[in-house]
Subunit: 349 residues, 2 copies
């Protein structure tokens, strides 16, 4: 604890070895808990390590051993609570494995993403977890990451041509299954005229969710009206503004599967302004299970993706890959869980 060198040079194995009258190799063995070293020697060295306030230089060790003790994590938008939770989950597992997380944020810009990947890769991470920016191109990402570093892609697909030789692991959410379940749930509640509300048509998650909705409707043979599929920005404000579109033509829907929770909450607002009581006169579901969903009035039926658990899972997948670099690439689609609350009421009698 007491620092004999308050501002002197950094303490190295050499200093410890000299002070104990042993060789550097012996100190190194002590540091790595080798059973080879004598009990007394070990005690003497350990005491000296403490006394001089030695800190291990992992970078030097990694250089020599050609190993890595870090994982790079590149997030499209860290400020988004969903991804913050995800990052926390990743860091949990990475930390448990005795490694550290190198963080990078791309702010949804493929250019920034390239720069960040380039910078992180120079630090020699053992692997990379990437939640791609929208529009991030597969070839470019692979060029930046290189063939040497395992890659795990989370949440979105990389766009553009997929080079066949390159294989990476991926972890995605089962958007389609989720939307299908939500739709089926509304159908089970007795609804027949169900809308799909909100989201941006081009994004892969929106396409997948809409596909799930259509699938569920087709499965029971219910017709769908064109004006039941409403696009809007994935924000509360725009969702509230677009609520009207549902009622522009007959027949009006009695329920809606919403793109996500933000949109659902916005729609609630829009409904209230039209004099409809959400959860009573009109049923709806969300997606994500954000903190607010449980607290809204009425509380929101939604699909929980458990971002922290996904983060842990992503990290585990990558660590697994480090252990077994030649295993087949894995593409895991994590199920999402329907959380039934008050907003998905039966239709009015």
């Amino acid at each position: 604890m007491e620092s004999n060198t308050p501002l002197g040079r950094k303490v190295t194995v050499r200093d410890i070895a000299a002070a104990c009258g042993v060789s550097r190799a012996t100190v190194s063995l002590v540091l790595r808990d080798s059973p080879l070293v004598n009990k007394d020697t070990r005690a003497r060295v350990e005491e000296e390590l403490r006394r001089q306030g030695y800190v291990y230089n992992r970078a030097a060790a990694n250089l020599r051993r050609r190993t890595s003790s870090s994982i790079a994590l590149v997030i499209n938008e860290l400020a988004n609570p969903f991804f913050a939770e995800f990052a926390a989950g990743v860091d949990d597992v990475v930390g448990e494995a005795g490694m550290v997380t190198l963080l990078g944020s791309s702010s949804e810009s493929p250019q920034r993403e390239q720069a960040v990947l380039g910078s992180l890769i120079e630090h020699g991470p053992g692997g990379i977890i990437l939640s791609p920016a929208e529009g991030s191109d597969a070839r470019q990402v692979l060029a930046a990451v290189g063939a040497r570093t395992p890659l795990l892609v989370f949440n979105r697909e990389l766009s553009g041509e997929q080079p066949e030789y390159a294989h990476w692991d991926s972890l995605a959410l089962d958007n389609q299954q989720g939307a299908r379940e939500a739709t089926a749930h509304l159908i089970a509640q007795g609804h027949r005229r169900i809308a799909f509300f909100g989201g941006h048509g081009d994004s892969s998650s929106c396409r997948q969710r809409r596909a799930g909705y259509r699938e569920a409707m087709k499965a029971v043979g219910f017709p769908m009206a064109p004006h039941w599929e409403v696009e809007c920005l994935p924000t509360r404000l725009d969702a509230a503004r677009c609520a009207e579109a549902l009622f522009e033509a007959d027949p009006a829907p009695t329920a809606a599967v919403c793109y996500n929770d933000a949109v659902a909450l916005g729609l609630m607002h829009g409904l209230a302004e039209r004099g409809l009581a959400p959860g009573q006169d009109f049923a709806l579901t969300g997606f994500d299970d954000i903190a607010e969903a449980a607290l809204a009035t009425p509380s929101l039926t939604t699909l929980a993706a458990a971002p922290r658990a996904r983060g842990r899972q992503a990290a585990q997948m990558l660590l697994q890959r480090l252990r077994d670099p030649d295993a087949e690439a894995r593409r895991i689609v994590a199920p999402v869980k329907l959380v039934i609350r008050a907003s998905s009421c039966p239709p009015l009698a």
Copy 2:
């Protein structure tokens, strides 16, 4: 781009040098954009670097140069949007400076914090930004960080005895001024009976905010009733549960300064359950300006701390310290800004 060594050894300066018929030193000069090297040589080397898909090994360079290219960031709770924003701000600036962020999360546990600091320090960061876990002890943190690595403490104070020899920079929020302003605003609206609601009494931020509240009340000579200071967990749920406590005795308050936004939103819920309309029958303010504050009904008057800007500022302070290690320690208290919205209505006539 084309990788001649799809799974061969890592490409090093040595390989490039050999392929170009120059020495390692020359390649190294090219890598660092030295003006010493001949134009043609440079072109030849750069071409070869590209051809072989060379990636710079920054760890090796740092070892030799005794420099660092990373900043460690240890957050008490990364999943909290406030700190996620902060982290994003830090990473922005660190990235702009060509460095990378080493991430660690302590989950509000001083033990975890110790472990995380110990692990990160081994990677030789140039400096550390720490948002301490509640109850984190100054001596222990300093022991883990060592005297060699500059430390910047954000948001909270380290508890326990403060060793005089150790100096670190700090960046805090002006909790007291914020709460004082919020209280003064409610007073200006015409309220006389104002409560301070929520938060945990022991935490430094809660103490500071309460002090600001009391100060503002004393400044105008308004009396304060004991049951107007209600403690609760800083969560929505517990806040909703504790709302009653405000009305257990006479006289009941007509407004409340809340510990933070989560608590304020919870209190709104609790009020609604008692049949009181927040923003009409009862005024309240929050602290933090989380995304939801603007969207709640009624929209929430609160104190904006601009966490992303604080993150940028913290990183800048630390980078400044790296440039000038011997400068006086700086303790900056960042002002917070009162954002007036609908929840801080005047009292009923």
